[in-house]
C-alpha cells in the first residue's frame, strides 16, 4: 500500500524538472530507487529569452539551466521540450478567458491536467516511458483491487493534492511523486538537495503564476483584455457606490483597493461579492453576505469511480485552504455540494476538490454559489 511497493520493478521514468529544488530532489530519488530516469525541462514561455530576477517561475533560460545542472549531478540524460504552444492554448488562454467571464481560475491545476499529465504524459508513454515523475507533494497508493488512489502527502502542511485533483485513474497510473510519502520539511528537502550536491538547494521557492513574470496579475489581465474599462461598484440593492478600472481585476472576497468614497451605513467593511463582466459591474457588501452555504460545480473529474448517491466528504476550495465537511451529490453531470458550515471566499471558476479521509475523490469547477443571504430569495 505504499508508493514504493508499487514500483519494485525498475521503470522508465520521465522526470519533469522545472529548475526548482522539489523536482530536482524528486528526480534524484527516482533515480536512486533504481528507475531509468530521463529529465525533461518544459519550455512553456512563448519568449524563452526572458530572464527574471529571483527565478521563481518555470519558464526562463535560467530555470532551464538549473534543471540541466541538476540532471548532470544526478547523472541522467536531459532534454528541453517545447510545449509553449500547448501551454499557451490550454493554460494561458484559458486563464484569460476565465477571468474575462468573471471567474477565478487556478492555472496550476489546468497545467497539471492538460500539460504535465496530458501532453507530456502522452508523449512520454508514446516514446516508451512508463511514468512521469514530478516534485509534487502527494501520494499515489495502489488499492487492494489494483486501482490507483491519490492521497494527501504525509505532511499535510506541504500537501499539493489539491492541484492534482484533476487527474483521473489512467493519469495516476503513470504518475510518480517521490516527495509525497516522506514526512520531511522544506528545510529537510533543501538539506537533501545540498547533500546530493544539487545547486538548486538554495533557490527560492516558486509561488506565483509562472507565466506572469512580474507577479502583476492585474497588469497582465489589463494588457490582455484591452486595458482598464471603467465600470460601476454597486451595493447589494444596486445603488452605485463608486467606480472601478475593470471588473476582471477583482476577486470575490477582496476587501482592499475598492476605493469607495463613503462608508457603509453600518460602518463595517465591505467586500467584493460578485463580479459581472457582462455589464462590467462589481457588487460589494458586508462580510456576512460572503457566506456560502452550497454550490454547483461542472466538469467533474474522478480519481476513481464516480460517487453514487449523496455522500459525506471534506472539500478543499483553494490551493492552501482548509478542508471543510460537505455533502455532495452528482446529478446529470453537475456536482451539488452543501456545506455543513458556511464558507467564505468561494468564487466561480475555482476548483473544488473532494476528499474521503486522505483520499482524493475528485474535483470539479465551481459554477454557481448560494449564499446564506440569498437562501430565502433563491429558495
Amino acid at each position: 500500500m505504499t508508493q514504493n511497493s508499487q514500483h519494485t520493478r525498475p521503470l522508465r521514468v520521465l522526470a519533469a524538472m522545472s529548475g526548482g529544488v522539489d523536482s530536482a530532489v524528486a528526480a534524484a530519488r527516482a533515480a536512486e530507487a533504481g528507475h531509468d530516469v530521463t529529465g525533461v525541462h518544459l519550455a512553456l514561455s512563448a519568449n524563452p529569452q526572458s530572464f527574471r530576477t529571483g527565478a521563481r517561475g518555470c519558464c526562463t533560460i535560467e530555470d532551464s539551466r538549473d534543471a540541466r545542472r541538476a540532471a548532470d549531478v544526478i547523472g541522467i540524460p536531459f532534454y528541453v521540450w517545447d510545449l509553449a504552444e500547448r501551454f499557451r492554448e490550454d493554460v494561458v488562454e484559458d486563464f484569460v478567458a476565465e477571468y474575462e467571464a468573471g471567474r477565478t481560475p487556478n492555472p496550476c491545476l489546468r497545467c497539471n491536467e492538460k500539460i504535465k499529465f496530458a501532453a507530456l504524459l502522452d508523449k512520454a508513454l508514446a516514446l516508451g516511458f512508463d511514468a512521469v515523475c514530478t516534485g509534487h507533494y502527494a501520494t499515489v497508493v495502489t488499492a487492494p483491487d489494483g486501482s490507483r488512489e491519490l492521497h494527501r502527502a504525509s505532511d499535510m502542511a506541504k500537501d499539493q493534492s489539491y492541484v492534482l485533483g484533476v487527474l483521473d485513474e489512467r493519469q495516476l497510473a503513470h504518475a510518480m511523486f517521490p516527495l509525497g510519502d516522506t514526512l520531511t520539511t522544506k528545510d529537510e528537502i533543501r538539506a537533501e538537495a545540498e547533500r546530493r550536491g544539487l545547486a538548486v538547494a538554495k533557490k527560492p521557492d516558486s509561488h506565483d503564476i509562472c507565466f506572469i513574470a512580474d507577479g502583476d496579475t492585474q497588469g497582465f489581465l489589463a494588457n490582455r483584455l484591452g486595458g482598464p474599462a471603467e465600470g460601476d461598484i454597486l451595493d447589494e440593492s444596486g445603488t452605485k457606490l463608486g467606480t472601478h478600472d475593470g471588473a476582471f481585476g477583482f476577486t470575490i472576497g477582496q476587501r482592499k483597493g475598492l476605493r469607495i468614497g463613503h462608508p457603509a451605513a453600518d460602518g463595517k467593511p465591505r467586500y467584493v461579492l460578485d463580479i459581472s463582466p457582462v455589464d462590467n459591474t462589481v457588487t460589494v457588501g458586508p462580510a456576512a453576505a460572503l457566506d456560502v452555504t452550497a454550490l454547483t460545480a461542472l466538469k467533474p473529474r474522478w480519481c476513481g469511480t464516480a460517487p453514487a448517491g449523496p455522500g459525506g466528504y471534506t472539500a478543499q476550495l483553494r490551493a492552501h485552504g482548509d478542508e471543510t465537511p460537505v455533502t455532495a451529490e452528482l446529478t446529470d453531470g453537475t456536482l451539488h455540494v452543501r456545506f455543513d458550515e458556511p464558507v467564505r471566499g468561494v468564487a466561480p471558476g475555482q476548483a473544488i476538490v473532494l476528499y474521503d479521509g486522505t483520499r482524493v475523490v475528485g474535483s470539479a469547477t465551481i459554477a454557481t454559489t448560494r449564499r446564506r443571504t440569498d437562501a430565502l430569495a433563491a429558495g
Partner: protein, 387 residues
C-alpha cells in the same frame, strides 16, 4: 556509441593533440621581443604559412581569430563599416538566407543598429544561390552594395554553393564577397586565391583541431574595421594575444584536412551513401534534405514526416546514437530550421529533421547502428506525434 555529429565538432586528430600538448609546455608571447617571444612568433608564423598553403592563400591573408563566429563577425561587420566609411551610399548587404547564425545574426544586427539595408538572395529547394540571382540583386544599384556573404557549404543540409561563379559576379562589380567555409574545409576543395573571394571563414574544431581558434582569410586589399580593439596583433584588424598551442594544432589539422581531403571524400562519402540508403530502406518516406549531387560528403540530412525531431533525438540518444536535429537552439529548445524554411520546406515537415554528419572516426558499425535503430525510432516518434 555511434557519434554522428561531426559537423557540430569532430574528435581532435592525434597529430593535432601532439602539436598542442608540446606547445602547452612552452612559454612565450608571440608579441614579445626576447627569445621566448621569438620562438612563439616563429611557431605562429610557421602555422600561418601551413594554413595558407592548405587553403590556397598567402600567409599575410590568414587572420587568426577565436573561431568561426568571430571570423564571420569581423568579415560582415568590419567590411560593412569599412565600405560605408569609404562611401556612405554603400549600405546594402546581400546575404543568403541559409547562412549560419554567426553571419545571419551579424547581418541582422547591422540592419538593426547600423542602418544596413539587408537583402536576402533567393535560394532554390536545395539552398543554392544562383549567380544570376546575385547579379540581379547587385544590378538594381551596384553603387550601394557594401558586401555580399554566401556560405560555401550549408551546415544543416550539406548543400555546396557555387562560390566560384558568385565570386565572378561580385568581382565584376568590385563588390567584396565573404564566404563562411567552416563546413567545407576538408570536405571540398578550398582555394582562397583562385576563388575570387574577399574573405573566407574557417574553424579549427570542425577539422580535428582544438576549439577556440579559427581564421578569416582576408584579401590583402581589404582592411575591415576591427571588432576587437587592442594590441593589433593580427594585421591591425584583430587584437588579442595569440593562443600559440591552439594555432600550432590548428595548422596541423588544417594541413591534414587538405592532404586527406580526397581520401576523406571518397571513404566517408561511401559510408554516408550507405547511411542514406539504409535510412531510406527503413523509412521509405524519409525526405533527403539538400542537393543530392552538390553536397558535402559527410552530411546526411533527413526530414521524417509526422515526427518531432526532438523525439527522434531522444530515442536514438538512448541507444547511443548521437546526432542533431540540425537546427538552432535557444535554451535547448529546437526551433524550426531557418534553412529548411528558406528552401520552401513544409513547416510541419521541418519539425521532424535529423542531421547525421560523419567524420574521420566514422565506421561501418556506426552506419549499421543507425540502420537498425532508425525504423523503430521513427515509428515510435510518429506515435508520439507532433505536440
Amino acid at each position: 556509441m555511434a557519434y554522428l555529429d561531426h559537423a557540430a565538432t569532430t574528435p581532435m586528430l592525434p597529430e593535432a593533440i601532439e602539436a598542442m600538448t608540446a606547445q602547452l609546455r612552452l612559454t612565450g608571447n608571440a608579441s614579445s621581443l626576447h627569445a621566448a617571444g621569438r620562438r612563439a612568433r616563429r611557431t605562429v608564423e610557421e602555422a600561418r604559412e601551413t594554413l595558407a598553403e592548405a587553403l590556397g592563400a598567402r600567409p599575410s591573408e590568414v587572420v587568426l581569430t577565436s573561431g568561426g563566429t568571430e571570423a564571420d563577425n569581423l568579415a560582415v561587420k568590419g567590411l560593412y563599416w569599412a565600405r560605408r566609411a569609404a562611401d556612405p551610399a554603400r549600405t546594402r548587404v546581400l546575404a543568403s538566407p541559409v547562412e549560419h547564425h554567426a553571419v545571419l545574426d551579424a547581418v541582422h544586427w547591422l540592419a538593426e543598429h547600423e542602418g544596413a539595408n539587408v537583402e536576402y538572395l533567393p535560394v532554390d529547394a536545395y539552398g543554392r544561390v544562383a549567380p544570376e540571382a546575385l547579379r540581379a540583386a547587385v544590378e538594381r544599384d551596384p553603387g550601394d552594395v557594401a558586401l555580399a556573404t554566401v556560405m560555401w557549404a550549408n551546415n544543416e543540409i550539406g548543400t555546396i554553393l557555387p562560390i566560384g561563379e558568385l565570386a565572378e559576379v561580385a568581382a565584376e562589380f568590385r563588390i567584396p564577397l565573404h564566404s563562411d567555409a567552416v563546413q567545407a574545409f576538408g570536405q571540398t576543395e578550398l582555394d582562397f586565391g583562385a576563388s575570387g573571394l574577399a574573405a573566407m571563414t574557417v574553424s579549427s574544431h570542425k577539422i580535428g583541431g582544438p576549439y577556440g581558434i579559427g581564421a578569416l582569410l582576408l584579401g590583402r586589399e581589404y582592411t575591415p574595421v576591427p571588432v576587437l580593439h587592442g594590441g593589433g596583433q593580427e594585421r591591425q584588424v584583430r587584437s588579442g594575444t595569440l593562443d600559440v598551442p591552439a594555432v600550432a594544432a590548428f595548422a596541423v589539422a588544417g594541413r591534414l584536412a587538405a592532404e586527406r581531403r580526397e581520401e576523406f571524400a571518397r571513404e566517408v562519402g561511401a559510408l554516408r551513401d550507405q547511411l542514406v540508403a539504409a535510412v531510406r530502406d527503413a523509412v521509405p518516406d524519409a525526405v533527403l534534405g539538400g542537393d543530392p549531387d552538390h553536397r558535402l560528403p559527410a552530411n546526411a540530412h533527413f526530414s521524417f514526416p509526422g515526427c518531432e525531431g526532438d523525439s527522434l533525438l531522444l530515442l536514438l540518444d538512448a541507444q547511443g546514437i548521437e546526432c542533431s536535429t540540425g537546427s538552432a537552439c535557444t535554451a535547448g529548445v529546437a526551433q524550426p530550421s531557418h534553412v529548411l524554411l528558406a528552401t520552401g520546406s513544409d513547416p510541419e515537415l521541418a519539425r521532424g529533421t535529423l542531421r547525421f554528419s560523419l567524420g574521420h572516426t566514422s565506421t561501418r558499425a556506426d552506419v549499421e547502428a543507425v540502420a537498425k535503430a532508425i525504423g523503430p525510432a521513427v515509428a515510435r516518434a510518429r506515435s508520439a506525434g507532433l505536440s
